[in-house]
Point group: C3
Chain length 344, copies 3
């Protein structure tokens, strides 16, 4: 029998199946530095230990997406090595900040299965949980992915489609323990806009753009120990191009959103996410946001903004998400729906 991992195919999954993913990973200050070299991020909390301490966070957390990409990367060899496409995310909560020295592990449970009518593939829904070395939950999320069948003749499983909420309720959000924006230094953070300055329906063009290169997205994707071949190997796709890991676009869009949302310091939740189109080297990526909702939290100084964060290929000053046909507009790459925490 071969000793290498062929990954799981659609017929290998069953409802209720629990998969403890391999390769626990310790987060370090090195990850913060490499992340900072890959993305133009300037949020004051992950940038400055002194600023983080001033809002109640000591030790110094890394950016939420550092934890997310590491935790997500663990699932790839078991869940999506034979994926056709990563279809969506839901119900992602950042439950506990990740700090250097934390070791993350991820476990997933299969919560849904639906074979496609073509008999060649199916959709697998999993709920994943990342825990630290103290067995505390750090991050949890659901995602669904289209996976090839190994054998077209394999019997289709009973269809189970999990109920996933369209957006987490504000009361579902978990604030970082100790977080308090009472003494928040807006000057140090880079912008004066606070919770009350944002209105539901408001759109923000984040203005800046970054042109992608292959080495950069590979450095990022490896940092997360994501093993999907299409990101690294020009022989893995007919077009000879390397597909950019979707998480690279998420981090890039989040970093670009600093310009206009500098005080949206934390992502508390990802309500939904879709990679609308693939990205490749030489694409220039821009981002815009729309305020979808606003809510108070248990901490009086902390508000929550529900934001749609959209990444586009080339700049779209009209900030159009969908065409008249209801489909994503041509340049849209990412449509991410998040709850972010901001000073009131």
């Amino acid at each position: 029998m071969s000793k290498t991992n062929p990954g799981n195919f659609f017929e290998d999954f069953s409802i209720g199946q629990v998969i403890d993913h391999a390769t626990p990973r310790t987060v370090t200050e090195g990850d913060r530095a490499v992340y900072g070299s890959l993305y133009p991020t300037r949020f004051a909390v992950p940038s400055s230990a002194a600023f983080a301490a001033s809002v109640g966070l000591d030790p110094h957390p890394v950016e939420e997406l550092v934890g997310f990409h590491i935790a997500f990367g663990k699932t790839v060899p078991d869940i999506s090595l034979n994926a056709v496409a990563n279809l969506g995310y839901a119900e992602c909560r950042f439950v506990r900040p990740v700090v250097p020295g934390d070791t993350l592990r991820t476990s997933s449970t299969v919560i849904g299965l639906k074979e496609n009518s073509n008999g060649k593939s199916g959709v697998v829904y999993v709920r994943s949980t990342a825990t630290n070395q103290h067995d505390e939950v750090a991050i949890e999320w659901a995602r669904w992915v289209m996976v090839h069948k190994r054998d077209r003749e394999a019997a289709a499983p009973a269809t189970v489609i999990p109920e996933l909420v369209k957006a987490l309720k504000p009361s579902d959000l978990v604030l970082p323990p100790g977080l308090d924006f009472t003494s928040y230094d807006f000057g140090a953070a880079g912008e004066t806009h606070r919770f009350d300055d944002y209105a539901v329906g408001e759109k923000i063009d984040h203005v800046d753009g970054v042109t992608l290169t292959d080495p950069e997205h590979m450095l990022a994707t490896r940092l997360w120990q994501n093993t999907a071949k299409v990101h690294f190997n020009t022989q893995a796709r007919p077009d000879g191009r390397r597909l950019v890991y979707g998480g690279h676009i998420i981090s890039l869009a989040r970093a670009l959103s600093f310009n206009g949302l500098a005080n949206a310091q934390f992502i508390a939740a990802i309500n939904a996410g879709a990679h609308a189109a693939p990205a490749f080297a030489d694409d220039t990526i821009y981002a815009w946001s729309e305020v979808l909702d606003k809510a108070e939290t248990d901490v009086p100084s902390v508000g929550a903004l529900r934001l749609r964060l959209v990444a586009t290929r080339d700049r779209d000053e009209s900030m159009t998400l969908r065409g008249e046909d209801g489909k994503y507009a041509p340049g849209v790459l990412l449509d991410l729906d998040v709850w972010a925490l901001i000073p009131r």
Copy 2:
């Protein structure tokens, strides 16, 4: 009103104006590693904690330019986002070594203004100071930059051109507290040449060259949270090329200067600096130095060399700074005048 930062234009600056720049940044061992992957640096003090301790420096400082680029990067969104060109540096002193765990902030004061006769732009002179989390000054410098006007009709300010010294006096230099080269290990440092081995007027061809790539200079520039669009976005310039951040060339030249100046362990001051020409991917960068002056310091084992560090596109074994017309020779990219500390 737009929530994004348009940067300041020439008419937004006024003499005496103080700007506290955003995004404090904590320096980590990760920065040292990323810096070491970007530049061929081998100076023994920043390379080795044990060597640093042997010359009186514990904790282990990062290279002076790590602190400089971080501190400088903070000023970009406020000072030079709408810059035509970065014209020069002066009176830069490294007052206190930066060590991992330090959080740097930068503040600038406008010390000079001069509108250009074309009415489209003007020169802004600022003096900037980087402080650590203990409010101790780490680095201070002046620079001047040509900045676009937003409105050509805006009234010209009174012209104020600050007096900046051509070079700091040796007595102005601040040595790292505790520095003592008495037990300096020349074998470990890589060369035998000490203070007495260098003569004023001597030129040193540093021999080695490095061919630039886009991903590398972008990784560096992001690490410093420098947000100038032209470094990252191929759509930001008519020629579709990414302009290399001038600081990338400074660090590269400094690293290349190891070969011939391995014992010039610290940059104590930058007396003057000019980016004579832009650099782009595929340019091959070389460096040469000229000894401009020599001086004793308060510490008997420590001498100071005033050095002109020149970076060139392609190698110029003749080490020619200027042509007969007094202009920089065609390949010259950088002309940097520094005081460096070296064992006597």
Copy 3:
């Protein structure tokens, strides 16, 4: 006299000569992160401090090749700056794990010399030892390299060819102090295969491939402070291409070997190594392994596998090392013979 280092030429070496190499280098958590961004490595011990502690290793060692490349890089300016080719390695032992905070130095002794019949170059054999800040040996190895003569007329030295064993005996291996695989968590490590599951003669195709880029191998090679011009400067070779540092291929092949050898957690020794052909950007690198031998160790839970690790340009599912002419098959880039430690 020139102040720059011209490197040593063949006639500069003499039997018994000891060279203490420059630039001690402190290893940090930053190196672990950068390494993880450059290579698709997922071995559980270097990835997770918690996993490492569970097998008796606390503090958390970095990957053996991190130490090797750093220690090796120190030797380049003195041994191989004027090398024609790096011919081979032997008798390399990893004597003590390298952990963040360790400062490595390297010293070499010339153990063999043989001038080539063409009178233009010769082979230099050195034995090198890397020690940490406590003067404990961390790594030791022999290598031989073909070096140019400065002066063709220089007299040939007496030929001395050292006796180097073809492979270290299992009893020569030094296990990391404290290592105990009794409580080894195969689920966390990523594969179930243990010592008894591997048979001598078995070959494993590691399946995955990575397409090289110039920025990535330069970042790696600089991280090790390796100064050989051909890796960085397109003007240093007639073909205008950057030669990939052989160690980059070693690390890449080792990382790819995770898929099939996930539990071969440590490289305890490199018995032999040859770079069969050069590698360049755009080459896609694959790896396969052959089990050459198996042995018990002093620790009952720890077995040793002797493995041939082969890197190839393009995938060779036939896993052919040599053609009928006895020469390396066309795609073979690296032939590395190692002892690796694996749970029994």
